[in-house]
Amino acid sequence: MTVTPTRTPPSPRRPAGQAALAWALLAPALLLLAGFTYGPTLASLWQALHTEAPGLPAAFTGADQLRALAEDPVFRQALRNNALYAAVTVPLSVGLALAMALWVQDRFAGRGLLRLAFFTPTVLPMVAAANLWLIFYAPDIGLLNRALAWAGLHGPNWLGDAGTALWALMAVTVWKEAGFFMVFYLAALQSLSPELMDAARLEAPSAWTRLRRVTLPLLAPTTLFVGVNALINAVKLVDHLFVLTRGGPNNASTLLLYYLYEIAFKFQDLNYAAALTLVLLALLGAVSAAQFWLARRIHYR
């Protein structure tokens, strides 16, 4: 390393040397990012536009793969399922997270215990959560149906019935995520200025009005952050499918990422998988763009 002579002030110097050092320090990160993010993204684009048959050179097929995807009933089903899955799990887990945070922010006997109860599912791997819920959902001897039988009701085959399988997965997701998002709301609530809340107390005597008119608007940036994360998780989190339903019955509970896994590793159709990868990347891009746009409107303070 170059040791600079001590007489001159050291700050703005030798940009050339700095640049060389900077690139050397950045090299490992950039190499890995290129190898596992940008490269694969570009490769997906190339693959999606080509078709390869064994022994033949890749043929340019343009948007054929994407067109096939658009007409694929399983893809359409996965898209519909994922949309419903997101539409239900995102507001439910974010709403519950907010309620949990409001519940456990004040001091009271047992607060720590209640926080722990809400947060613990977060710590478990999704696969463990799925194993655990398997005990509830099993058709005849499962705990849910035995509880129903106790009340004189005949429960459905939660995971084996096309009408309930996706909902059973949603319940696991909400149970797993609400406590995690609670933590971000707790952090945000702690950072609200006490003076502001005291002023609000003078202005608005009703607690509900205060919550609606003061607290919730101040929490808007947190809601955006948590909401976007929940939305991304709705696409990313498919671990429980592997244990609980494998997308079944008859694709009733399949989700986009799970279908991508099946195409790539079960059917080994890499070109088709690349097309689906592009669709997922486009969806993520749309979420990011929406987040960017919303963030500008929310941080008005």
Partner: protein
Amino acid sequence: MTTLTSPFSAGPSRALAWLLGALWVLPLLLLGWVAFRPGAGALQFDLAGPWGLDNFRAAWQVAPFGHYLLNTVAIVTLLLALQLTVCTLAAYALARLRFAGRGLVFALVLLQLMVMPEVLIAENYASIARLGLVDRWLGVALPYVASAFGIFLLRQTFMTVPQELEDAARIEGLGRLAILWRVYVPLARPTYLAYALVSVAYHWNNFLWPLVATNTEASRPLTVGMALFAAPETGVDWGVLSAGTLLSVGPLLAGFLVFQRQFMQSFMHAGLK
């Protein structure tokens, strides 16, 4: 602390909170219950029934949990060490060095926050296959090493270190890397701790990529082992399934209960950025 939001502190509301809390831990309590009831008694709920450790013995025989645990610890440790090294170097360059293209590089790093590695599993599998790293710890770790989140978090922290400290260290005759190691890294310790906890929690629980990147017991982590364990083909019963699940999450749960506070604070810190 003053009450900020009274509707949720009122009596009936608090009762509802406890009810939800009970509902939230119920599945975990049942898991513990079922795991200690041997044989057909697993789903019988009379307190007088037999208790025992048979399920744990059976689970241990069906699957190599010790090996899975070793793999998980190895993958998570290797990954964290690589992440901290790679991200520290990159973050310092982006925070304190001036060079043409810095803005562009930072934008490129941030772009990765948008792309989930999960979406690229097919391509990434091909990459580690070309490198001969399938079914290796390093293969499971590699796609996550250049963590844009880590680079971003450390860059923000490094930027708050007073430039005078670096200048002073330079006058003492320290080189850039020595300054990074002796000035920046110690000052960023809370950030490192927060990032480490978040990373460990994430990768300890990660499933889809390890499932794809491993194919033998030699490198399979706990999550993948646990999923195979629950497959109907293995024919394990509820008691054994619960015991196996408990064996897998036991170390994690114990660690969490001990470091609960730091854990939650790390997530807050990481979330607030």
